[in-house]
Amino acid sequence: MVREFSRPKSLLPENYLYCPGCTHGIIQRLVAEALDELNLTPKTVGVAAVGCSVTNFHLFDVDMQQAPHGRAPAVATGVKRVLPDSTVFIYQGDGDLAAIGTAEIVHAAARGEKITVIFVNNAIFGMTGGQMAPTTILGQKTTTSPYGRNKDVEGYPLRVSEMLATIPGAVYVSRTSVHNPKHVNRTKKAIKKAFQVQENGEGFAIVEVLSSCPTNWGLSPLDALKWVEEKMIPYYPLGEFRTPSEVTN
């Protein structure tokens, strides 16, 4: 019997700490597959952020540092400047990257730091109990926007990829989703590209992945995937916002 599907080598046989139906697990697996397929594991240093993915340094079989909330791009900068030949990636959620860590991500992009950023956007603070994030969409109910996000009170959701795409140092900026197998495959390609950009020494690369949060959205896992498609994608359109010519195709 041929085994068609197995755990990527860069993913350790540890239990995920994510809620049932959460798509973080898929994204993390894709990162591990990309590291395996590009043969980067031995020279990779990962930086974990704060949020639902806070314990992901237990899962990747690579050297890892744990950064304070929002600071992963700065920690990764320190690593990459000391070890320019290493592969450095960070894995941040939207609370971490788009709220408390806005300055760090913008300036890492502005400096063109040669790092790969996996940015998981589920439009909410997950781990701390479903509070409103900068990415929470208008009308969305959270524990801190119980009447629905109102533009006159809480302002507008932040489109991080579009913003970063205006920065010359950000050479690869892409938004994908994992709400169905077709998009999972596209996300995998985008993540691989984001690593290839770093390997080519071209600059800062980020993949924003739309992800579901059934627990805090109060939806079943399937309805949550539908919500990504029907509510999130219209506000957060998928696609590549910047691509260096070398990595097109």
């Binding site: 079989d61 890892m64 540092q65 950064a67 920690v75 320190g78 690593v79 400047r81 070890l83 300055a103």
Partner: protein
Amino acid sequence: MPEKAFMKGNEALAEAAIRAGCRYFFGYPITPQSEIPHYMAKHLPRYGGVYLQSESEVAAINMVHGASGAGARVLTSSSGPGISLKSEGISFLAGAELPAVIANIMRGGPGLGNTQPSQADYHQATRGGGHGDYKTIVLAPYSVQEVVDLTYKAFHLADNYRTPVIILGDGFLGQMMEPVELPQMIEPEDLPSKPWATVGKGRRTRNIVTSLCLPPEENDALNRKLQKKYNLISEKETLVETYLLEDADYIIAAFGITARIALAAVDLARKEGIKAGLVRPITLWPFPEKELAKSAENAKGILTVELNMGQMVDDVRLAVSGKAPVKFYGVTGGLFPTPKDILTEIKKLEVAVNG
């Protein structure tokens, strides 16, 4: 032949760091420490190092986290308000047991305060500054030569104990020029390897650098491990200098630039027949409690002099533990006491003690 130079305190600090094998500097401009980044920006590239001006103090200390975790000797520098911002990162460095050297060239506070010399960050430095149970080694130089010697030593202490080390200077020390002897250049490749560093796992088991410790027992164990390390540092690394202490009736306790002024005050007092002496803590943490306690045994009174409203005096009182009366004299705002001012305070103490 030792290499001699005539240098500003801030530049001497930067040069000593380079000679200690530091090739990475991350920082943000703030007065009165700016000559440190200026010097690093000019000189580090010549040694194949990296000077990087960060977008914020917060980013700078986290770049230090990354670089230190990757095994490098690394420096950042700032002044009061910037150190407040770095405090989150310093707590993370302590928790993850990462070596780093952080210079605080103190200015007036609180808040924006002013850019004049001060010693008002004593409490912040000696109590850790950030959240959680941790300490940083705090070195307080009182001359440009000592800025060089203690900076050089700071990198060794940081690596040896895997802990952040603070160099607590002030605007006077940073800005004044003195002749110095410079230590030998250490090449980073000659330093002992750091098997715990995150450099890419290669064929070994992966390394993890983190301060996250979720299970209660593990978090408790980490805290106990840190306390054990701090106890060892207290036992082995406490530094203090004394002057004319043997027969002293009145003891001045002062650190950094204030101790320099207090030295002259001791001589003035002696000329007038008052038996004065000086205790100068060089490590503010660990604090030289034993030396203070011992000196208090035969003293009639202790005067603590600081460029703040009374901070180290708390540690002096704890150490002396009622064995002698402890008085405080301090000025802020960039004002400083003359030796004569200190002598006047000694005389006041003498009157208070003798009635």
